[in-house]
């Protein structure tokens, strides 16, 4: 007969574990440590094929407790982790990696580097191949730390340069760090994934040593290789690189175009619009309008004066030229149902006017064109502006009144 209520080892430890988890969730570290003490003997029965066995549980929970407990020291933590490393060979590299992270978070960079180096040289039969991913990460982070050393050396060198010193040893050290870093970084960014920091560092290295071609290739790969996950930052890095090296407008625009497609609300869209507005090519100016409208679809930009001034400038320019009013019409079509409430309510008119006069000015201009001189927003702001005898509002009022027919064409 099955005595389900029979208290056995397994059930006892399960109960113990739930007490530990509760304590950890409530940040009662002493209590968690107390129950963990009783849980630890599960290691002597650790043959489970469960997803997470006792040794992994003890590693993770023990780490949590030691991180937060007031009486715990780094030394204790290190000794604990060393024991955890011996517990499960299948997890060895993961533990090493997380140990390194922990050391880094505590500012112990040299120790972290030492740990990573040791881990890198670890070999254990078929396990080495199985834990390949972790190994790659270890190499990558070691590469990153090499970069960090290189960076430090570089700073020293530049300082010495200024002071007129020549430091050969520092220079050699620096180059050696570069070589070590470059090797590992290059390897890891070949693997499809998100490697932002690593890519940046690697590119920094390449640029310093003048290998621009390699840098461009790396950035292109990172941005355009379909095997890599879609990553806005990749395009940002590429754009920044191209800009740094004075590349053509065409390449800059193509880099930013993709960013616009992925993240229409990105902050670089302002620069993008500015660039596009100035272009002689009609298509680009059209794109510029699309870009700036898209930016202002997002709540985060609602009170951004720069964005509104970009839109205002472009809309004004179009209205004055009396050409391409249909562009505005096209953009406005999908927005006319919700932008009025979103941007141009009476309440917003009041708050904008009170808080940010420039913002209200730019917005009023746009409102006046898109919604006509009789819209709430424009009426309120322009009235307030004129009352306050601010010159530009008088001009604005005149302008909108003059170009009301444009509004009629847009709305009709």
């Amino acid at each position: 007969s099955s005595h389900e209520h029979k208290l056995n080892f397994k059930k006892s430890k399960e109960a113990c574990l739930s007490y530990i988890q509760d304590a950890v969730l409530q940040k009662q570290w002493k209590r968690a440590a107390e129950f963990l003490t009783f849980y630890i003997e599960s290691l002597e029965k650790d043959f489970s094929t469960e997803y997470m066995g006792p040794s992994e549980i003890i590693w993770r929970i023990g780490t949590e407790i030691l991180c937060h407990h007031s009486h715990s020291s780094m030394k204790e933590f290190n000794s604990f982790i060393e024991q955890m490393k011996t517990l499960g060979v299948k997890r060895y590299l993961k533990v090493c990696l997380e140990h390194a992270f922990h050391l880094l978070c505590n500012g112990l960079i040299d120790e972290a580097y030492h740990n990573l180096s040791l881990a890198e040289s670890w070999r254990f039969g078929e396990q080495t191949a199985i834990q390949d991913k972790e190994m790659k990460l270890i190499q990558a982070y070691r590469g990153l730390l090499d970069y960090y050393s290189w960076s430090k050396q570089k700073t020293i060198l530049l300082e010495h340069d200024q002071d007129g010193f020549e430091d050969l040893s520092v220079e050699q050290e620096m180059h050696s760090c570069f070589r070590k870093a470059a090797v590992n970084l290059k390897e890891v960014i070949k693997i499809p994934g998100v490697w932002d920091l690593f890519v940046k560092c690697y590119v920094d290295l390449l640029e310093f040593y003048g290998d621009h071609n390699e840098a461009r290739q790396v950035l292109n790969e990172y941005a355009y290789n379909s095997k890599f996950p879609a990553n806005p930052n990749a395009h940002v890095y590429l754009y920044q690189f191209l800009k740094r090296h004075g590349e053509s407008k065409k390449s800059l625009i193509s880099a930013l175009k993709i960013l616009h497609d992925i993240v229409p609300s990105h902050e670089l869209m302002i620069d993008f619009n500015t660039m596009l507005q100035k272009s002689k090519k009609r298509k680009r100016r059209r794109l510029g309008l699309e870009v700036i409208f898209a930016v202002l679809d997002y709540a985060g930009w609602k009170e951004n004066v720069k964005a509104w001034s970009c839109l205002a400038r472009q809309v004004k320019q179009i209205v004055i030229s009396e050409k391409h009013l249909d562009w505005i019409k096209q953009e406005w079509n999908s927005r006319k149902d919700w932008w009025p409430a979103f941007h141009f309510s009476r309440y917003l008119a009041k708050t904008n006017w009170q808080e940010n006069e420039s913002l209200s000015y730019e917005k009023a201009l746009v409102a006046g064109i898109l919604l006509g001189k009789d819209c709430k927003y424009f009426k309120y702001v322009s009235h307030q502006g004129c009352k306050a005898q601010v010159k530009r509002f008088r001009i604005l009022k005149k302008f909108v009144n003059k170009h009301n027919p444009a509004y009629l064409r847009i709305s009709g």
Partner: protein, 573 residues
């Protein structure tokens, strides 16, 4: 020790034949005397040797010696008996009763005290004998097979992983058990011979206690085991150094669960029948185990008014469960239902509470309010018992104690210092693990804050104590039931005219193992609360007590003597 002089050559130089008889080594005269495993103290210098023809020899490099499984159990029983004596049990239990029971068992199960002890068959099953020709033994049970046959208390998967790794190693080097007959012990079908297990040691103890009518119920005994006053878990650490324990011995002597009341109890019955014991000494109304006595005890512990005792006695008398013939154990008698004294007494109290308070989540509270009202005008004598007040006090204590118990259960340490390993190859790994565990325990133990020494609570028969000296009115022993009784024809009867049966029909025990099936949601919360209280005190599942309540009710209302019971099957909600 067999120290007689040889009849033929007058030497004292004895050996043992395969058949377990003594023979003189000087002149090879075989006697009729058989080997007795008499000494509770394992004497390693016993000058008895066995003829080794076919009998697997132990490697003596580790300083071990040959020992049989039943010797191990004998040691366990001895330790347990000593502990019981320390708790106040009469020494007669250890020196006479238990000893005799054990000897009789060995005899009946043919492990000793007979002509052909079962141990001689060991040689036929020497799995790990390196000298055995593989082809000549067609039936060689594999280690895995052996492990799977026995009731595994531990994680079978772990055992199999051990087994499979052990069997990979060549047969000649692995030794399967420290004991001589460990392998045989687990393998042979012993259904008819009642193979000894660790839980059965407690059955032996309880049987001896019952024989002596000691004031210790089975639930008390099991509680003392869990609290650590009676050796059970890891008792093998008290085995002498030379008795090496490994391999299959672990499956026999290492327990990984606490014994369950039902299991120990039913084994005891089997055992009593197996040993052909006569009728046990009478349980009369002056015995501790008599329902009247136990009810008194439990009423006190449950903080209920002493006056309830009159009612429990009435119920006991009415359904004749206070009779000597009902209460006394007659082994092998299947027609009578065997009595679990503690559960019975608890169930009687539950029934009495139902009689007086109905416990339908409604009436008891009304009655309590009524008693409260009457209490306001009650100037003389003790206060009237109010269910509501009692409930609050008990719930509070029970919750606290239950919480403590739950935490303690999560804190049990199952391992001990004496390391265990299945085989010599595993030894170093096991020791390293052990060392790491100890290190980690120290490390986190220091971070536990206030050092909590693992003290055993003092053994006590009472878990909850209530004193009338407490001025906070939390003791209800002296309270009067008058508040809920009424006078009718010069008699005090319950105001409550109703009763609901826990079940209309009892199940057939043989079919499903139970008399009733308790589900908390089907019953009033007050009823469940009362069950929970006794479930805590007795350390059994509420359903176990519920079963007994059902039986009592069916006896009580069988003849419909009580006035107009309402047949509510209790399926409320």
């Amino acid at each position: 020790d067999f120290n007689e002089r040889c009849a033929q050559c007058s030497e004292v130089n004895w050996g043992l034949t395969d058949g377990g008889r003594f023979y003189c080594r000087s002149c090879h005269n075989v006697t009729e005397r058989t080997r007795e495993v008499v000494n509770a103290d394992f004497v390693s210098n016993v000058r008895i040797q066995t003829i080794s023809k076919g009998l697997r020899k132990q490697e003596k490099t580790d300083g071990g010696c040959e020992w049989y499984v039943c010797e191990g159990f004998q040691l366990v029983l001895k330790k347990q008996a000593e502990a019981l004596e320390a708790l106040g049990v009469h020494p007669q239990m250890k020196d006479e009763i238990l000893c005799n029971f054990w000897r009789r068992y060995l005899q009946k199960s043919k492990q000793a005290y007979c002509n052909r002890p079962a141990g001689e068959t060991v040689k036929a099953f020497s799995v790990c004998d390196s000298s055995t020709d593989v082809d000549s033994e067609p039936e060689r049970p594999s280690l895995l097979h052996l492990l799977s046959l026995s009731e595994s208390e531990g994680d079978l998967q772990t055992d199999c992983s051990f087994a499979s790794s052990t069997s990979k190693v060549s047969e000649s080097t692995s030794v399967c058990s420290g004991s001589v007959d460990g392998t045989w012990y687990l393998m042979k079908n012993q259904k008819d011979k009642l193979r000894m297990t660790m839980p059965m040691t407690l059955s032996f103890c309880y049987m001896a206690l019952l024989w002596l009518r000691e004031p210790m119920t089975l639930s008390d005994l099991l509680r003392f085991v869990v609290e650590g006053h009676i050796p059970y878990l890891n008792v093998f650490q008290h085995f002498p150094e030379k008795m090496k324990l490994y391999g299959l011995d672990l499956k026999i002597f290492c327990v990984e669960s606490w014994p369950v009341y039902e299991e120990v109890y039913s084994k005891m019955l089997e055992l009593a029948a197996f040993l052909d014991l006569p009728r046990f000494p009478d349980i009369t109304d002056s015995c501790f185990l008599h329902p009247d006595m136990l009810c008194m005890k439990y009423l006190m512990e449950a903080n209920l008014p002493d006056e309830l005792h009159n009612w429990t006695c009435r119920v006991v008398k009415k359904i004749c469960i206070g009779e000597v013939d009902f209460l006394t154990l007659v082994p092998g008698n299947k027609s009578t239902r065997n009595v679990k004294y503690d559960v019975l007494a608890a169930a009687v109290i539950v029934v009495v509470l139902k009689l007086l308070f109905l416990l339908d989540d409604h009436y008891e509270w009304l009655l309590s309010d009524f008693a409260e009202e009457r209490n306001k005008n009650n100037k003389e004598g003790g206060p009237y018992f109010e269910f509501k007040k009692w409930y609050k006090v008990i719930k509070c204590s029970l919750d606290v104690e239950q919480k403590k118990l739950d935490e303690e259960r999560a804190k049990y340490l199952w391992r001990c210092e004496k390391p265990l390993f299945y085989s010599a190859q595993k030894k170093s790994k096991v020791l390293k693990r052990r060392q790491m565990v100890v290190n980690l325990q120290n490390q986190f133990g220091k971070l536990s804050g206030s050092v909590r020494p693992a003290e055993k609570p003092n053994p006590s028969s009472f878990q909850l104590r209530w004193s009338e000296e407490n001025t906070d009115g939390s003791c209800f022993h002296g309270h009067s039931l008058k508040g809920i009784l009424q006078e009718k024809c010069g008699l005090l009867t319950a105001m409550n005219p109703d009763y609901w049966l826990c079940t209309v029909k009892l199940c057939t025990e043989k079919l499903c193992g139970h008399l009733a099936h308790y589900r908390e949601v089907d019953f009033p919360q007050s009823y469940h609360f009362v069950l929970r209280l006794f479930s805590f005190l007795l350390r059994v599942e509420p359903s176990y007590i519920h079963d007994e309540v059902c039986v009592i009710e069916h006896k009580l209302f069988n003849k419909k003597l009580y006035k107009k019971p309402k047949y509510n099957t209790g399926l409320r909600k």
